[in-house]
């Protein structure tokens, strides 16, 4: 029996998609610049069905790509031609909320925000908050080790996942991590989180829940220069204050937000910082004053303090919708995700502006300033033939971050988008070591192939004399 027939038999006709038009709706995720039509999409309804589907793939050597809500911005869920997409959108059960042990057990298709909603009656919430939290799924969060505005204080997905049930590349189901906070042996759960779907598929996640902070205060501080805003960020952190979040928006981003929602941001300010503090009321009140002083010392022109929960929600709605809102001022865009050391924020923003001018492309900035995690949005028009120019600039910006001592990606993942830039950040030994880990989980290379690691097909064959592949050097593969 062919693998397609076998999958159809195992999952049922109503849970597989083979029609060409339908398949095309799965050809890209949140990064539309890359598109590949899969051979089949399957929608399993349980972990057992995921395992069965993976088992069929393993037996027939069919590559597979897991997909959550398809909101990823690095092409992590980009399908493989002749491979299948395993959609986890039918695994959406909240299995358990355990307010005593402060944890929840959920299936991978549950959205990030729905975990917090389920925990809310107990005064608890799930801390990592990607901007797409209302739609992105916890399965995708685990795959990408997603962050969010509040990760400055609370850490990333990896700091909030206690255990994960996963389906390995051969179809085995196993659990990584466990109930105790500290387990002996290698941290395989840590390796799995952020592996971008290359080590297996998560089918159930146990997450840590936190008590909602007693007090929260939020402000928007306007600045006349980007450098002033950048220096204020450094000043706040240097003063020993750990805000829940420090976000920066530049003027172009503010304009996009204003075009999209009921905006509370000053339309003509050059840059704005959103600073949120949470914790015990007295501490928050004291530090809130301190932060305002620091902002003023760095040339802040205006401070808006959220008066109530509604106004705070407006500040965050604007910030979190910013990427999509950019659709109002540009038909297409690339989002970058590079990280720089906090002290070099002003410098990197200046250089990005200069590079954008030179390339003749607009760049909007809206990002997690406290982490130094940039999100430059390179605006372009596919119809006007600006794709290549924008993509080049986008890549240059990511590589600039590495050059300044930072990283290619803070939270979106490498995916298909930045795989070719990996050698800028890691030496061949590093990559070979990573590939050996990957091969230990997935010797056949069927789990989300073509992501994270550079491949000649993806990055273009470079002419010149023969250079051994990192895998060859590591002794994992042989040259025939």
């Amino acid at each position: 029996m062919s693998w397609a027939a076998e999958l159809t038999e195992v999952l049922g006709r109503e849970n597989v998609i083979t029609d060409p038009a339908r398949l095309r709706t799965y050809e890209c995720d949140g990064l539309t610049g890359y598109r590949v039509v899969p051979a089949m999409v399957v929608l399993p309804r349980s972990a057992a069905e995921v395992a069965a589907a993976v088992g069929v793939c393993a037996r027939h050597g069919v590559p597979f790509v897991a997909r959550g809500a398809g909101t990823g911005l690095s092409g992590g869920a980009l399908p493989v031609a002749d491979g299948i997409v395993i959609s986890l959108q039918r695994l959406r059960r909240i299995v358990e909320v355990d307010p005593v042990n402060l944890r929840a057990v959920v299936e991978p298709g549950v959205t990030n925000l729905d975990i917090s909603k389920a925990a809310a009656p107990y005064g608890l919430y799930y801390a990592p908050d990607p901007s797409s939290q209302q739609v992105c799924t916890i399965g995708g969060n685990v795959a990408e080790n997603s962050g969010g505005a509040h990760c400055l204080k609370y850490g990333f997905t990896v700091n909030h996942v206690l255990a994960a049930e996963v389906v390995l590349a051969d179809g085995t189901v196993t659990t990584l991590g466990g109930d105790s906070p500290q387990l002996p042996g290698y941290d395989l759960l840590g390796a799995f989180i952020g592996s971008e779907g290359t080590l297996g598929i998560v089918t159930q996640v146990t997450v840590r829940l936190l008590a909602k902070p007693a007090a929260v205060r939020t402000m928007v501080a306007d600045f006349a220069t980007v450098a002033g805003a950048g220096d204020a960020v450094t000043g706040i952190v240097a003063a020993g204050i750990v805000p829940a979040a420090i976000e920066m928006l530049d003027n172009l981003a503010i304009q996009a937000v204003a075009a999209s929602t009921q905006s509370v941001y000053t339309l003509d300010t050059v840059a704005a910082l959103v600073v949120e503090l949470d914790g015990p009321p007295d501490d928050v009140a004291e530090q809130f004053e301190q932060v305002q002083e620091i902002c003023r010392a760095h040339g802040c022109t205006k401070v808006l303090v959220a008066e109530d929960a509604e106004q705070r929600a407006l500040i965050w709605t604007g910030r979190k919708a910013a990427f999509a809102a950019v659709g109002r001022i540009s038909p297409d865009y690339f989002v970058q995700d590079g990280v720089v050391p906090r002290g070099r924020l002003a410098e990197v923003l200046g250089r990005i502006a200069a590079m954008a001018d030179e390339a003749g492309v607009r760049v909007a900035n809206v990002f997690h300033a406290g982490d130094g995690n940039l999100h430059p949005l390179v605006l372009y028009s596919e119809a006007a033939g600006e794709h290549d120019r924008a993509e080049r600039l986008s890549t240059e910006i990511a590589e600039l971050c590495v050059e300044l001592g930072g990283s290619l990606s803070g939270e979106h993942g490498i995916g298909a988008d930045k795989a070719c830039s990996m050698p800028r950040m890691f030496g061949e030994d590093d990559l070979a070591t990573m590939l050996r880990l990957r091969s230990a989980f997935d010797p056949g290379g069927l789990c989300n192939p073509g992501k994270v690691f550079p491949t000649p097909r993806l990055c273009g064959e470079r002419p010149g004399r023969y250079r051994p592949h990192p895998l060859e050097e590591a002794g994992v593969i042989e040259r025939l």
């Binding site: 038009a21 709706t25 949140g30 539309t32 999409v41 809500a69 297409d332």
Partner: protein
């Protein structure tokens, strides 16, 4: 450059620049009822726009596959509310549906169901006959019998849905007519023309009566134009553009004679389609201007009352009320705050939130008749969410939602139009008596 519409014909295809607004972020997904049910990309707003986009490029044909995914859309427009990029999915859907109606033949069964729906619902007289059958069916114990014998379970899903939606109405109320004119109480503030609706006037005559009373109490002279026919909402939302346009022209003719300041609707679906008349008749030189004027004068009754400083005193009603947003009010007309404010202004009323409030109840015009399976799942989900809030009363400003939610409620919770609560409060009578 040659302009082509790909697989679409040249008559108002979905516009390229509207398709380009979508950046594929997926923020619409959790608001989409069909995506909530099935989790398939093609049955999400993002996926449907993708299909429209591919068709516009000529990369996929207009066929049953494509039509199936556009048909499955409830048109609830929750995605429009959710979209940060400002994608006008309402316009895209309205442009795509007539194209598919023209180019993709429906199955025999689908054709029959739709023909039957459109032959009955827009005609109050026929609707009355159908409702009369419904009353007899209940009175003679046939309903209990068919259910006991399991006959209902063996009916085709569409008929089963129609059977389940039949509300318990009284024969007397089927024939209730509104007076042609109701004088304003006290000094007249406005002259308003009331749309009676088709199913509305037959099944919810009480709501119309309450609407007229409340408007009058608030200083509006209410006229009910004679000979008013269907507004065409059902046709418009089903992609039957020509029929909808013909009905729009006739309704404009009828209402212009009333010379009112404002045209008032108390059915969300009707109000939203009348507000779209300007777009619907934009290409008709004889009507474009009149349609624009008419559309601008349309108000939902809750919208109008919120604009008027309250005049009639409100008497207390002690009740916990769950307000259910009708999609064509909340999303299509962006009216969310007004009905809530009106209800909150009644002393004693406690408003309660419903979980998954943004998710459509599955009524959606004729959707629960032509897509009964998905509609049933959504109806059950909505009813469960409402019951979890444990309200004394459920209020929603749309006839379709009232029928749909009632069908799936496990407990007997009174379902009313918000205007009925206001009416009872102004008259100072208990809600149950006001509805008699």
């Amino acid at each position: 450059m040659v302009l082509t519409n790909g697989s679409f014909d040249a008559h108002r295809p979905p516009r390229r620049e509207l398709l380009d607004d979508c950046v594929h972020c997926g923020f619409c997904l959790p608001s989409c009822p069909t995506y909530a049910v099935g989790g398939e990309e093609m049955d999400s707003p993002r996926g449907r726009i993708y299909l429209m986009d591919l068709a516009e490029r000529g990369e996929i044909p207009l066929d049953r596959t494509m039509a199936g995914h556009i048909d499955s859309c409830l048109g609830c427009l929750a995605c429009v509310t959710a979209c940060p990029s400002g994608v006008q999915y309402d316009l895209l859907l309205e442009a795509t549906r007539p194209q598919l109606e023209r180019h993709v033949p429906r199955t025999r069964r689908d054709r029959l169901v739709r023909r039957a729906v459109f032959a009955v619902f827009p005609y109050p007289a026929r609707m009355r006959v159908a409702a009369l059958f419904g009353v007899l069916y209940r009175r003679l114990g046939l309903r209990a019998l068919t259910h006991r014998l399991g006959i209902v379970d063996r009916l085709p899903a569409e008929l089963r849905a129609a059977e389940g939606l039949l509300p318990p109405v009284k024969v007397r109320s089927l024939f209730r007519r509104l007076p042609a004119r109701v004088a304003a109480v006290g000094e007249r503030r406005l002259r308003v023309a009331l749309l009676e609706g088709c199913a509305q006037r037959v099944l919810f005559g009480d709501v119309n009566a309450a609407t007229a009373r409340v408007l009058a109490a608030e200083g509006c002279e209410v006229v009910v134009p004679e000979g008013q026919r269907c507004c065409g909402a059902l046709n418009l939302h089903a992609g039957l553009e020509d029929d909808a346009a013909a009905r729009a022209r006739r309704l404009i003719d009828t209402f212009e004679k009333a010379e009112a300041d404002v045209v008032v609707a108390n059915v969300a679906g009707c109000g939203s389609s009348m507000k779209e008349y300007d777009r619907l008749l934009a290409d008709d030189p004889a009507y474009a201007e009149r349609a624009a004027r008419f559309a601008a004068s349309v108000r939902d009754v809750t919208e109008l009352l919120a604009e008027l400083e309250p005049r009639a005193p409100r008497h207390p009603i002690q009740a916990k009320v769950a307000y259910h947003d009708a999609c064509h009010l909340a999303n299509a007309q962006r009216i969310r705050r007004q009905p809530r404010d009106l209800l909150r202004a009644v002393p004693g009323i406690e408003l309660t939130d419903i979980a998954e409030a943004e998710l459509c109840c599955g009524s959606a015009g004729i959707y629960n008749l032509v897509q009964p399976v998905a509609a049933e799942e959504l109806g059950r989900r909505k009813a469960a969410n409402i019951e979890a809030a444990a309200p004394d009363v459920i209020a929603t400003a749309n006839a379709g939602c009232l029928l749909q939610v009632r069908r799936f409620l496990g407990r007997d919770i009174p379902l009313v139009h918000p205007i009925e609560i206001l009416d009872a409060s102004i008259r100072g009578v208990p809600l149950e008596r006001a509805r008699r």
